[in-house]
Amino acid sequence: MEREQVHKMLRDMLRARAFEERAAEEYSKGSFAGFLHLYPGEEAVAVGVIHATEPADYIVTTYREHVHALVRGTPSKAIMAELFGRRDGICKGMGGSMHLFDAERRFMGGYAIVGETYPIAIGVGYAILLRNLPEAVICFFGDGAVNQGTFHESLNMAALWRLPVLFVCENNHYQIGTEIHRHSAQTDVYKRASAYNIPSEKINGMDVLSVYSTTERLLKQIRNGGGPYLLELETYRFRGHSMADPGTYRPSVEVHSFTSQDPISIAAHELESSYPTAEEIAKVGPDCITQLTEQAQQTGHLLEQDLELIKKDIENEIDAAVDFAMNSPEPTMDECWLCFQNNQRAETLL
């Protein structure tokens, strides 16, 4: 893999981590309320998958989607302002954390009702089919979401009509507090695809490089008319389900074993000579320090300045995003109605 690409992915993982930790901080400060579902631990999934997409591809995702939007290219300030509910948010403050949409980047939305991403994805896929274009749809969903009826219904239709959809399961082993073996009779999510004659596989979702290369291969195949595919990515969230959930239902040894596989450290490892220092990494988040430090000690780190630069950049970016959000005005009720009636255009209703 190109060093450049790895570099970009590591950078996006670091941005993702920094963005989310900052969002948590702002939430705790009371800058905004509501449900806030964070992504630390799962960065390799969104980063690996989305880096493999083309601008013409579409992305459909869930309420845990800040990072997906960020990686897709939505400016961090537009996302942060949305979390703050402000006028300059990507959805003008109407959607909030769980409902980021960015039409320009074909980012088809964050959905807060579990299981909604499938029908949206096959709908976009159906449109692509009718238009006969070399485009693909990426449909993200969690392990818990697999048990919603729409999974079954949508995968069947995707297979029947060979829709260009890559179904990506972010299997973090939990549906809020319910572990996968307590919510699914079949804990290998990828095996469920056979019920629809959809090919599938499971790979390590903590390894951004293989996520990237697998996705790249699959998307090519899908854009060439290969039909739908299901990719299961095993991953882990370091935090609780949302800010309201301390995640205490998980044995600490389990949490520890996964933090030692921190995807950021795994990616950094690939950049061989560019390991960050323990101090630098400390800023990323406590969960990966030990691991990264160890690796850094073992392999040495050459491009220290580069990494320092990246970190600095990111810090500045996120600071700027928060500033921007804070200074963006609250939307007015008039603006709210405009968003609502946007589609009526020149139509005469009565």
Binding site: C91, I113, A121, A127, L338, N343, L349
Partner: protein, 327 residues
């Protein structure tokens, strides 16, 4: 062009014209294709436009309705047929949480040019699970618009308008209307999508109704006329938005109001109509408004009880006779 045509044919015509004109229009639903549609609305279109644009679906209401939502987001103009409104209970997440909310939640980034057609209402001994009317449920959802055509002309107009609109629109078609006949005049300009229509002028009282019961109300009005009671009948044509102005103007002349609906009375569509008009015309009303509505009971299978569970012509006549009219 002025011709007699059946209600289902008017819908078929509207769809055919729209599909011929705009390649982004497609229809999907159970048995809409090869089979030609349960109520024949899609007859002939499968062979004309092919299976991709006239798509037979599995029995997966929530997801194929959601498919329509996704396709509409990127500029297609899907028409989803839910075989009957009763099955829409399975698709309400797609309709309410997705279609109605995405344009707003996205801050106005997405249009939602989606039409969802559903036959419904009490037909003939279809029993409790197949005799429902869900207008009240959909009315309470901001973002949805609801058309309830009662004539072939309106069916043609409103379906065509719905396909052209960028908002999600629900078309409720009463099952007993498909084989009713009426004039379709394609030369006259369509009424606005949601405008109510005064079907009969009258001076003693106003009946407001919609869909099949607008026709039942007209029959009642004819009977009342013979008894010297001159009844105005308004066919709402739309349940969301509602054309209040036409209603208010009428009440200002008649000072008496009956709302007729097939839906269960308790928290049905009529509740909103009576409530809003009372608030706005309180001092214009000489007597309490009356709802003549379906009974609050699941629809019984037995034919006589079924008929007794929804308003008949006589029920409306009796209600009108209860008014103390100025002589």
């Amino acid at each position: 062009m002025h011709e007699e045509i059946l209600y289902w044919q008017a819908l078929n015509r509207a769809l055919d014209i729209a599909m011929a004109k705009d390649s982004s229009v497609f229809i999907l639903g159970e048995d809409v294709g090869l089979f030609g549609g349960t109520y024949r609305v899609t007859e002939g279109l499968y062979s004309k436009y092919g299976e991709a644009r006239v798509r037979d679906t599995p029995i997966s209401e929530n997801s194929f309705t959601g498919l329509g939502v996704g396709a509409a987001m990127i500029g297609m103009r899907p028409v989803v047929e839910i075989m009957t409104v009763n099955f829409a209970l399975l698709a309400l997440d797609a309709i309410i949480n997705m279609a109605a909310k995405i344009p707003f939640m996205s801050g106005g980034q997405y249009a939602m040019p989606l039409v969802i057609r559903m036959p419904g209402g009490v037909a003939k001994q279809l029993a409790a699970q197949h005799s429902q009317r869900l207008e009240h449920t959909m009315m309470n959802v901001p973002g949805l618009r609801i058309a309830v055509p009662s004539t072939p002309q309106d069916a043609f107009w409103q379906f065509s308008q719905a396909i052209e609109s960028d908002d999600p629109i629900i078309l409720l078609e009463h099952e007993l209307l498909y084989f009713t006949k009426g004039v379709l005049d394609s030369s006259i300009e369509a009424l606005p999508m949601h405008k109510a229509q005064v079907r009969r002028k009258g001076k003693h009282l106003t009946i407001i109704s919609y869909s099949k019961h607008a026709l039942v109300s007209l029959q009642a009005a004819e009977q009342l006329a013979q008894q010297g009671i001159d009844t105005e009948v308004i066919d709402l044509r739309s349940l969301s938005p509602i054309d209040w102005e036409t209603c208010i103007e009428s009440i200002q002349r008649t000072h008496r109001l009956i709302v007729v609906e097939e839906d269960c009375k308790f928290a049905g569509a009529g509740a909103e109509i009576v409530s809003e008009l009372t608030e706005r015309c309180f001092f214009e009303l000489d007597e309490a408004p009356i709802r003549v509505a379906g009974m609050n009971i699941p629809t019984p299978f037995n034919a006589k009880l079924e008929a007794a569970s929804i308003p008949q012509v006589e029920d409306i006549v009796a209600a009108a006779q209860g008014f103390r009219l100025p002589s």
